[in-house]
Symmetry: C2
Subunit: 385 residues, 2 copies
């Protein structure tokens, strides 16, 4: 096992009716900015529940945070919040709203000249305004970690950042808030969470059997609950299990002391930035090809994953590896998430563009062994054509 530091102070309030508990978690007298997206929370009753819970606080609303939240939009929120002396933020929505709010709270206290540097130059941030979250879409895990991914429309760039000061103070996970989600968002959420686990699991063994089994626990839960969630998004237990699995997939518990990959995410971000493909779908496109391209380096964990998650336990080693990749593809496709670039009408020219962008930005050495170079990215994407 590798050395590690683990720290996650997020308070989780899980279950039906928990939105009503947020007032006890926000300092009395706070001026609250409630951030949200396109307004789905106004259709499913979440908006009313939050407003009811916030009675007694001064609340300013900031809506319109996009999927793959835009830097430009978030800076508007920062501007308004500063002028209105906001001192607590409440993100109500999915990963994009929570990620966006993390950037807002960091930018609120940023003392450098250009908040974009937090993203583009990885400027270290040491303070942030406090915020909480009400999660309505299980997927990204943002509700229980300190990381965020932000898009800049003007330059078609997508960058991530994170800091110990950008954990939510609390997150409400009420499965009932997910009952009206569109199927597409549920299937994306399952694939996103599943991929998060794979990024932290499908590397090489370091004699960490507990972390392995905990990762497999999340994968098996998503394998079983994911298809049920797509079919019955108003089944409480199903959505509760999916919701908690998506949170556990990226709250740090399964990644302690083990190597992590994240190359699939880096490559996928480019597809979102260039073509607006849903984040989860970019992962479904890239992961099977990356598995195949790195079949040698990832062999031991691929075989373990195949056996323990998909029951692949017979045949030659090569046959088992292939069956494992096929099982992964079949799982994604069974959820309605396509796995080829051609399914999204993306061709070879995009691969050239991505390679060029990586070259310009100096990105190299991706993967758990830092052995995925720009030319490997090209080969991986070609396998996804």
């Amino acid at each position: 096992m590798n050395n590690f530091t683990f720290y996650n102070p997020v308070k989780i309030l899980f279950g039906k009716g928990q939105i009503s508990a947020i007032a006890q978690e926000i300092p009395a007298g706070s001026r609250v900015m409630m951030t949200y997206g396109g307004g789905s929370i106004k259709k499913n009753g979440v908006y009313e529940q939050v407003m009811e819970a916030l009675k007694g606080f001064e609340v300013l609303e900031f809506s319109g945070i996009e999927p793959n939240p835009h830097y430009e939009t978030l800076m508007q929120a920062v501007d308004i919040a500063k002028r209105q002396n906001i001192d607590f933020f409440l993100a109500v929505g999915g990963g994009s709203v929570i990620d966006g709010t993390k950037f807002i709270v960091a930018a609120m206290e940023y003392e450098g000249e250009e908040p974009w540097d937090i993203l583009a130059k990885h400027e270290r941030i040491t303070k942030a305004a406090p915020f909480g979250a009400v999660l309505t879409l299980p997927a990204t895990g943002s509700e229980m970690n300190s990381g965020a991914v932000i898009n800049r429309v003007a330059t078609k760039e997508k960058f991530s950042f994170g800091s110990p000061v950008t954990f939510p103070k609390f997150s409400v996970l009420d499965p009932e808030t997910t009952f009206t989600l569109p199927v597409r968002q549920i299937s994306n959420g399952v694939v996103d969470a599943f991929s998060h686990v794979l990024e932290q699991y499908l590397t090489y063994p370091v004699n960490a059997p507990l972390q392995d089994r905990m990762a497999e626990a999340v994968l098996l839960t998503l394998k079983e609950e994911g298809p049920k969630a797509v079919k019955n998004p108003d089944d409480y237990d199903t959505m509760a299990n999916f919701m908690w699995a998506a949170t556990m997939a990226l709250n740090g518990v399964i990644r302690v002391g083990v190597p992590t990959d994240w190359a699939t995410h880096y490559i996928g971000h480019e597809l979102t930035a260039l073509h607006g493909i849903d984040h989860a779908r970019t992962l479904a496109i890239v992961f099977p090809s990356l598995m195949r391209y790195k079949i040698g380096a990832k062999k031991e964990k691929l075989l373990q994953y195949g056996e323990r998650v998909w029951g692949v336990d017979s045949g030659t080693e090569d046959e088992r590896l292939e069956a494992t990749i096929q099982a992964t593809i079949a799982f994604f496709e069974s959820l309605g998430v396509k796995t080829k670039l051609s399914d999204y009408e993306v061709g070879e020219d995009t691969i050239e563009t991505i390679v060029q962008r990586f070259e310009e930005r100096g990105v190299k050495d991706l993967g758990e062994r830092s052995d995925i170079q720009i030319q490997d990215v090209e080969q991986i994407l070609k396998l996804s054509l």
Copy 2:
């Protein structure tokens, strides 16, 4: 899945050499009281490492915290710490030292007249002095939770308490600190951690597959690593896996949203209080009998536990249940931990005494369904004779 709140802000510093990092975790200028036990840390180099790391701080030592820490001893520490204006505590040792230090930090800030009420009357505490821990004995999980168990010698009583303010600020888990542990402490630690998981798992199903699998992940790790740890306590990876499993067994992650039992602990505490039997050994005595006595109420989880942890997958239901209990007993015994009262020269008269003490104290309704009454405790203990 049941509703739940999860909160665990303990920062974990895991791995070799991490003791040197504690200076960055303690506020500059702190007057530190270093608490420890009987002096084993002076034989294995941990004392020197801690002292080296604490250079620059004023450090007062308080040694002599016993296994099953004594209220009387801890109150001496409180007295000294108050007179010496101590403002940070560092527990160096196993669960007893960390538990004892939790009581010290709570008593430091307790405003009631009688700190014993924190234990005997479950007085709610709202503040505590800050403390960190250097763990040297994987077992109790105290390093990453807010609970503690304290003994009062004068009255032969053993009570627990806990509060959101008694989490360690940080805990160092360096597997190398465990290399010189006596076999008895290692085997006790494995049984203790294993029992902690069973208390949170062996109840009744509430459709929480992720929590089930995470609990099984810890059990399987202890099943595999425990016997290796007893044989080779200086194998780094083995001790690292055992250490992390013992922490994960009781840091709250596996208990979210599921019922918990703890009857075995309550009953076991009496055996320690009356006969000084090691805590873990009392669990090994009580658990098999409790499983057998509650075989009907726990049937579904017992069958799942048997199949997934011990590979018990054939025979009639009754045969599988019996095989599962036998596998548990065999595991404890294989570690050198005896499972019968007679092994500890404890007879039926003690059962009468325990029943009497429960009656006097008004203890009843133990177990995940609150259906273990005092007469059931008697029957359970008789099965352990």
